[in-house]
Amino acid sequence: MDQLLTYPEFPHLLSILIFLPLAGVVPLLFINNDAFSRNFALVVTAIVAIISLRLVTGFDTTIPHFQFVEDHTWIESLNIRYTVGMDGISILLFLLTTLIMPFCVLASWTYIKTRVRTFMICLLIMETSMLGVFVALDFVLFYILWEAMLIPMYLLIGIWGGPRKIYASVKFFLYTLAGSVLLLVAIIWLYRHNGFSFHIPDMMWADYSFTAQILLFVAFFLAFAIKVPMFPFHTWLPAAHVEAPTAGSVILASVLLKMGTYGFLRFALPITPDAAIYLAQPVLWLSIAGIIYGGLTALAQQDMKKLIAYSSVGHMGFVTLGIFVFNLQGVEGAILQMINHGVTTGALFLCVGMIYERTHSRDLLSATGVGKYMPVFVTFLAFFSLSSFGFPGTNSFVGEFMILAGTFQLDTAQGKFPYLALAAIPGAILAAAYMLRMLQKVVWGGTDNPDQSWQKDLNIREIITLAPFLFFVFWIGLDAKIFINMMHTSVAALLDKLHSHHHQALAAADLILR
């Protein structure tokens, strides 16, 4: 328990943040009024966002421990506890979630016309479970929140989604659930071998046999790789993204996908270090496959949401690549890229949603040539597109650069030719190709553009929705140090333990072989 630091100045900060949205559901249950639902949900999510800024001032970046910890008995008979706490890996993701939610409400202001109250209830329940997942330090608590979010997300897609919403929502649900059933078995197995405790920090860096680690890693991998989604498990993503309403797409892209990569960092690396190192090569090559495949597929899309969805597959491929090179640049770049992807892709989905509200089509051809009539909109779109393919000065450049540097370092450190990094670079070029293609069509189009003269440019609400995203695109792009500082100590400690643990394991194996 020496890993856990409480926060005496504001002892229940995390719990308040997690459960405030859930408490916000209660008034909505009794008051059935569309305008009230919108305003109220906005107020609740905004309050959560504001309170969460307190985390930044209270967080000690110089220590790798879990902070703001709260620990209560929950289910006594099985020693299941309500334990939450955050370290440098989770704080940025937590803040990303709290900050993005008010904009999801804003983006649904006019987009959602039916059952507004139910929609807002789903959003608020989503927020509670997403925030909880990033700070849960009890594995059962984690699993419950991880699974519980499927229901509101299923409803978000299934009720307010596009024409093929039923197919998309069912596919999303089945993939994610099927992936995580073995995770449950792994959790119980760990409980059994950890003195009947579900406490996550206790499970880390314990000496499990190599076979057990491999099996645990496979269970983790299935659950997290489907959520990321990594290359062969990605097929639910385009369907879900395309059919979901804007807010749903933003939540999916910005937060839900990060849970998979967060899972790798929080569980797969510390709990099964030897297996992670042993199986890193196939995971790395799957990431490369995802980068190339996502890029090539995005290049061929006519549907803007699908294009961005496939670009997500590529971007998340970069993230897993960065995680599994196991060096400081790579992992820090990966976490930064998780944030970047949340900001940029979330914003791109908001942009597409705004076009969709006007043309009622996501087809690239029906949105060609709006640049002339919607200058503000295309300005935003241009910056977000540039950010998406990692243009220098924007946020993704920093992230991708760090990941590629880490990848080079991995190969050169072992004295090998850098196949891996070279294989990833075409992905960056592909990203430029498909984003510029979309940008060109939307801004200028060709000679046969549909008549767009009736299009209204963004209103104040929409500008307010997009502006903060743009702010973060440049803030991270020009001064990433602040963000990297927040995670640095935790990441360094993680990698330090990973390598020392592995060396010990190697030494032990050596001893046995001799």
Binding site: E76, I144, S169, L184, V185, I188, R192
Partner: protein, 471 residues
């Protein structure tokens, strides 16, 4: 008289209903009388809750275990009465007879959980079964297909066969110990488990309750009876008797003590086959009740997982699980009884657009089905989780993995029902009017599903105390 109050009030209720059927009152009066009586029975079971006594030459024990189950049974019966208030699956002239049979069956179940002597157990079981044998073919035969007769015949024949097995096993118990009293058995049996007769006898006796709970080799009646019986009758069969069946299974399994190893393999096989058979067969069902029947077989397999660890916590978790299962099932059957028109069966496709026709029912269905599927934070997840933990504590890793895979299979068919309920119908449908008592019931059921799922500690601790009183 006090310790016997719930049973007496049930008998009294039976008499009152008996006289109403002579009097030929109109349908609504009978229904209201029945529901009032149901409430009275629930109250009387609560009043008798703290009673502790042995009755009838010590063959009938009133203790924490039995009184808990009586309250559960009475509450579930009251819920069934409420959700089946329309009762349009039966001709109006036999409504009174239906309620009479229902009360008699519940009387049998209540006596069953208190009986501590093999013959008393047998008589109670038969009382509860015979009433249901009559209830199944009571369904209004408007289509002249007579498939309720087939259902009734199947239920009767399989029931009689299972009873035969059980009687045979009981005779072995008597032969081994020279007594039919359960306390004697508990004292003597654990020493005899190196003897194959004791194992065979226990398995045979368990068969009788496997039949009630619909565990794998005794599940054949389930789909046809669920489909053939009236919606209200199925709601009863699917919930209340399962409580009593688990109570008796717990009683007999706890008799085995720590010598369960001989039985473990049989129970594991029953459990795994129940899960796979139930879930795989449920995948292709079109009739909602039939699907719930198959899912019930799978859930029975899960309950067995709690029994086969032969430990108090496992038994307590099995008890917790079956209570949760009954509540989730009641939620689903509430929707069936509300959606079915003229007492007809509900196909899964009939639920199309339910969320527009009746949002509250759709939400109840959503929560009920996701809970059955074992999605957190509902009671179904917690129950499954507890049972998986228990099984893995005993190192039954393969069983746990197979059970987890079954959860993944099961989600498909539950989800396909939810999917239908939440997609819009092509043609305009009439909204379903939900009466106030149904709304209240659905809110209560949803609240129980949530609270039991999020705060299971109290329930589990209570269940453990209850089981302790058995030992």
């Amino acid at each position: 008289m006090m310790p016997f109050l719930p049973e007496l009030s049930l008998l009294g209720a039976g008499l009152v209903i008996f006289f109403t059927c002579i009097g030929g009152k109109d349908g609504n009066t009978v229904k209201n009388i029945a529901i009032t009586l149901g409430a009275l029975i629930l109250v009387s079971s609560l009043l008798a809750f703290n009673q502790r006594q042995e009755l009838f030459f010590n063959t009938y024990r009133v203790d924490l275990f039995s009184q808990t189950f009586k309250v559960l049974i009475a509450a579930a019966m009251f819920a069934v009465l409420l959700l089946g208030k329309r009762l349009d699956g039966l001709q109006q002239k036999i409504h009174a007879e239906y309620y009479l049979c229902l009360f008699m069956s519940v009387l049998g179940l209540m006596m069953l959980v208190s009986s501590v002597e093999l013959l008393a157990i047998f008589i109670s079981l038969e009382l509860s079964s015979f009433a249901v044998y009559i209830m199944v073919p009571m369904r209004d035969d408007s289509g002249r297909y007579r498939f309720q007769m087939e259902a009734g015949a199947k239920y009767l024949l399989f029931g009689v066969m299972a009873t035969g097995f059980m009687l045979f096993g009981m005779s072995y118990f008597y032969g081994l110990t020279g007594s039919t009293r359960v306390d004697v058995l508990i004292a003597q049996l654990p020493g005899m488990f190196n003897h194959p007769t004791a194992v065979v006898a226990t398995v045979l006796v368990l068969c009788g309750f496997f039949y009630k709970l619909a565990v794998f080799p005794f599940h054949f009646w389930v789909p046809d009876v669920y489909e053939g019986a009236a919606n209200e009758t199925t709601a009863f069969i699917a919930t209340v008797p399962k409580l009593a069946a688990v109570a008796l299974l717990l009683r007999f399994v706890s008799m085995v003590g720590d010598n369960g190893e001989a039985l473990v393999n049989i129970l594991i096989l029953c459990s795994v086959f129940s899960m796979f058979y139930g879930n795989l067969a449920a995948l292709v069902q079109k009739d909602f009740k039939r699907m719930l029947g198959f899912s019930g077989i799978a859930h029975a397999g899960f309950v067995l997982m709690g029994l086969l660890v032969f430990h108090v916590t496992g038994y307590a978790h099995a008890l917790y699980y079956i209570c949760g299962y009954v509540v989730m099932n009641l939620a689903c059957f509430m929707v069936i009884c509300s959606v079915g028109t003229n007492g007809g069966n509900v196909l899964i496709d009939d639920l199309t657009g339910l969320y527009k026709r009746a949002p509250l029912l759709a939400l109840t269905l959503l929560i009920g089905l996701f809970a059955l599927a074992g999605i957190p934070p509902f009671v179904g997840f917690m129950g499954k989780f507890f049972l998986l933990v228990d099984a893995l504590r005993k190192d039954y890793l393969l069983l746990v993995i197979l059970a987890a895979i079954n959860t993944a299979i099961a989600i498909y068919y539950y989800l396909s029902v939810v999917r239908v309920a939440f997609c819009s119908a092509e043609d305009e449908q009439l909204p379903i009017v939900t009466p106030v008592h149904m709304k209240l019931l659905s809110v209560v059921l949803m609240a129980i599903i949530l609270v039991m799922g999020i705060f299971p500690s109290q329930f589990v601790r209570y269940a453990e105390n209850t089981i302790q009183s058995l030992m």
